[in-house]
């Protein structure tokens, strides 16, 4: 789980600019996507942080076997 902050700026003309902070990877699109029906998107871009993967927390005990991949070697 990641804490995020989503800033929605509505300018004097009623146009909307949004930025998502604190979320790495494609999850930020989930938040921004909530406004998809608000209007016509005129600009949509990702920062380098977007392509970063969310860290995976593995809860392993001593002796557990970690298998990466699933194919035959």
């Amino acid at each position: 789980m990641q804490d995020f902050e989503f800033i929605v700026e509505i300018d004097v003309d009623g146009n909307v600019t949004t930025t998502v902070n604190g979320v790495k990877g494609q999850k930020c699109s989930e938040v921004a996507g909530l406004l998809a029906d608000l209007g016509q998107v005129t600009e949509d871009r990702h920062t380098p942080e977007w392509s970063e993967q969310e860290p995976i927390n593995l809860d392993l005990d001593q002796g557990d076997e970690l298998v990466v991949g699933g194919g035959l070697w």
């Binding site: 929605v8 300018d11 009623g14 949004t18 406004l35 209007g39 600009e43 920062t47």
Partner: protein
Amino acid sequence: MSKYMKMKTQCKIQAHLVAALQASGIKFEQAQAGQTLTMNGYGGVKRQADFVIRKSEIASYGDMGYKWNGSEFDLVADDYAGQRKQEQVIKLISREYAAAFTIAQMEAAGYGWERVDQENGAIQLVVSGRL
């Protein structure tokens, strides 16, 4: 920051348009379901709309309104230079619509939000939550 998006607001949901009209503080009329209201435009031109703000409210030559076109509410208004009050009202309603839409979506998703009104009329909504 990981995502940046700009949007031009379109009024598509009636409940949010009503909320925006109410938030604007300007007196408006709403047509009964399945009916429209007659607008009195400049030079006696008559047009129909679902929501009407009379010209006396906006110091204009004609009424302004919003009419459903099947996918969104179109603005119906006389377009003359110098209708400053009307332009301000249109922008105000657009801002309040965007705010009402955003707040409803974020509350439905279970996120918290805070509204900050800027001196120039712009609105900032700060949404927070966990993903």
